[in-house]
C-alpha cells in the first residue's frame, strides 16, 4: 500500500504521471528554478513560526496555535493553483483528524500578501477519498500513465524527463 503524502495529492489534480513518478521515488530535478523559488519562499517567510513540521510521512509547511486552535498552513508562491493547494491542505487536516486532532487550515501566499482560511468540509473530504483511491490505482500501474501535453508542462520540473 502506498504512503500518500501532500505533494502527491497536490500533483494529482494537475498530472497523474507526476504522481506515478513520486510513488516510484522519482523526484523532480530540484535545480529547476521554480522549485528553488518555492523553497526560498517557504524558508524566508514567517521566520517566527514553527516551520516544516514532520508528521508521519507528511511535511507540513507551518504549524501555529491561535487562541486554542491548531492551525496548519501551506505556503505557496502564487494563488494560481489555489484549488490544488486546498486539496493538499485538506489532506493534512484529514490525516490529523484521523488521529483525533481537529485543526484549521490556512493557505499562505506571502508574495501576494494574501491568506485564506479553510476548514475540512464534507465536500473536501469526499473529494479526498476519491483522490486517495485514484492514487492507489496509479501506484499499481506497471508504467507511468500516458504522456499528455498540457499547459502545465511548459513550466514543469519534470518536463525534460517526460519529453526527452
Amino acid at each position: 500500500m502506498v504512503k500518500i503524502n501532500g505533494t502527491m495529492i497536490n500533483y494529482y489534480s494537475i498530472c497523474h504521471r507526476s504522481v506515478w513518478y513520486l510513488i516510484h521515488g522519482l523526484e523532480a530535478a530540484q535545480d529547476h528554478p521554480f522549485l528553488e523559488i518555492g523553497r526560498f519562499i517557504t524558508q524566508e517567510s514567517f521566520a517566527r513560526s514553527k516551520k516544516e513540521v514532520v508528521f508521519d510521512n507528511l511535511k507540513i509547511d507551518l504549524v501555529k496555535k491561535e487562541n486554542n486552535d491548531v492551525v496548519v498552513a501551506e505556503i505557496k508562491k502564487s494563488s494560481k493553483a489555489k484549488k490544488t493547494a486546498q486539496l493538499q491542505l485538506a489532506y493534512y487536516l484529514y490525516r490529523l483528524k484521523e488521529i483525533g486532532i481537529t485543526a484549521r487550515g490556512e493557505l499562505l501566499f506571502p508574495k501576494e500578501k494574501k491568506r485564506e482560511k479553510m476548514v475540512l468540509s464534507e465536500e473536501l473530504e469526499n473529494m479526498l477519498k476519491t483522490t486517495i483511491l485514484e492514487i492507489e490505482k496509479i501506484s499499481n500501474m506497471e508504467k507511468p500513465p500516458e504522456l499528455k501535453k498540457i499547459p502545465y508542462c511548459r513550466n514543469c520540473a519534470y518536463r525534460d524527463f517526460c519529453w526527452c
Binding site: 521515488g25 530535478a29 506497471e142 508504467k143 525534460d160 524527463f161 526527452c164
Partner: protein, 330 residues
C-alpha cells in the same frame, strides 16, 4: 546557472561562515556556495570535515586530480535522489545479459555515429579520412555479431583506435602527432590532451548523474566492479567526439595550444597550468553552447543534452521508451 570551480593553486579550502573560502600565501578568495555546482581540484589542497559537511549540504561534488591531471576520485555527497525502483531496474538490466547487451550496443552506436559525424565534417573540408571511415563502418557492423560484452568493449576500442589514426590528418600539426594511444602516463602531447579532456567529461557526466535517480556504479558497456563509477564512462563515450575531440581540434587547428604548454617529465608528458586552462576554457564554452535539436523548438546546451541522455536511459529502464543515443546533427 551554477558554475564549476577549478582550483590549480596549492592552499586550503574551508568553510567560512556560510560560504566557501580558499586561502594560500598569495591571497584569499571567497567562493559563493549557492553558485557552485562542483569543484575540481588540481593543486595540493587541504580540506577538513567541516568543509566536506558543508559542501555535502549544498550537494557539491568535489573531484580530485593528481599531478598529471588524472582523475583520482570524487567526494560524492550522499545521494539526494533516492529511488529503490530505479536502482532495481538498473540492476535488472545489468544482470540480464540480453538487456545489458542491447544498451551497450546502443552506447557504441551513439559513440560511433558521433565519431563519423566529426570525420565527415573534416572530410568535407578536404581532409583525407575516407579510409578510416570505411574501416570504422566495418567494425561497427561486427558489433551486431557478438553476444559478449567484453568483445563489444574491445570493438569499441578498435573503433576509437582507428579514429585516432585520422587525428594527424585532421590537425596537420607536426608538434602534435598522434603515434599511438598511450595513457597513465600519456607519452606525447596529443595523448595528454585526450586524457585530460576525457577526464573533464567523465566528471561532468558524473555530476549530471548525481542530478538523476541513476546509480553511477552500474554501467552497461564498462563492466561494473562495484567500487568505482562506470555509468559515467559509458555515457561519456557518446559525447567524447563531439565535445572533447572538437575542442582539441579547434585549439590545435587555430594553433592556440603550443609545445610550450606541455611539460616533459621523467615518465610522460603533462599539460602545464596554462595548457589546462586553455583546454578548460574551450571545453566550458562548448558545454554552454546551445543548439537547436531537430523536431523541437528549444535551444539546449550540451550539458542539458547530457542530462537528457540520462533521462532517456531511465525511460528505457522503466520500459517506457527504447533508448536512442544522441547523435549530433553536424
Amino acid at each position: 546557472m551554477k558554475k564549476r570551480i577549478y582550483i590549480f593553486q596549492n592552499g586550503e579550502l574551508k568553510r567560512k561562515d556560510n560560504t566557501l573560502y580558499f586561502e594560500n600565501e598569495q591571497g584569499k578568495k571567497f567562493i559563493p556556495i549557492e553558485n557552485t555546482s562542483e569543484i575540481l581540484i588540481f593543486g595540493e589542497v587541504d580540506v577538513n570535515k567541516r568543509f566536506l559537511e558543508f559542501t555535502t549540504q549544498a550537494e557539491i561534488i568535489i573531484h580530485f586530480f593528481n599531478h598529471y591531471g588524472y582523475y583520482i576520485g570524487s567526494f560524492y555527497p550522499r545521494e539526494h535522489y533516492n529511488s529503490g525502483y530505479m536502482i532495481l531496474k538498473q540492476a535488472e538490466f545489468y544482470m540480464d545479459m540480453t538487456k545489458r547487451l542491447s544498451i551497450a550496443r546502443l552506447f557504441i552506436k551513439g559513440a560511433t555515429f558521433n565519431i563519423l559525424r566529426v570525420l565527415k565534417y573534416y572530410q568535407k573540408r578536404g581532409k583525407e579520412v575516407e579510409d578510416v571511415i570505411v574501416v570504422i563502418n566495418d567494425i561497427l557492423k561486427k558489433t551486431h555479431l557478438t553476444d559478449d560484452v567484453n568483445v563489444l568493449l574491445g570493438l569499441e576500442g578498435n573503433i576509437r583506435n582507428t579514429y585516432y589514426q585520422a587525428f594527424d590528418q585532421i590537425t596537420e600539426n607536426v608538434d602534435f602527432s598522434f603515434e599511438k594511444r598511450s595513457r597513465r602516463p600519456p607519452e606525447n602531447a596529443l595523448n595528454a590532451l585526450i586524457s585530460f579532456g576525457n577526464s573533464l567529461l567523465y566528471v561532468e557526466v558524473l555530476r549530471e548523474i548525481y542530478q538523476t535517480h541513476l546509480d553511477p556504479r552500474i554501467g552497461y558497456l564498462h563492466t561494473t566492479n562495484f567500487r568505482s563509477f562506470t555509468l559515467n564512462l559509458d555515457i561519456a563515450e557518446i559525447f567524447k567526439p563531439i565535445i572533447v575531440d572538437r575542442c582539441i581540434f579547434n585549439l590545435l587547428n587555430k594553433r592556440m595550444l603550443k609545445p610550450k604548454h606541455f611539460l616533459k617529465e621523467l615518465n610522460g608528458v603533462v599539460l602545464n597550468e596554462d595548457g589546462r586552462k586553455l583546454l578548460i576554457q574551450e571545453y566550458e564554452t562548448r558545454l554552454k553552447t546551445t543548439i537547436k535539436l531537430s523536431g523541437t523548438k528549444d535551444e539546449v546546451s550540451y550539458s542539458r543534452i547530457i542530462r537528457r541522455e540520462l533521462y532517456k536511459l531511465e525511460k528505457h529502464l522503466m520500459g517506457e521508451k527504447e533508448y536512442a543515443p544522441y547523435v549530433s546533427g553536424w
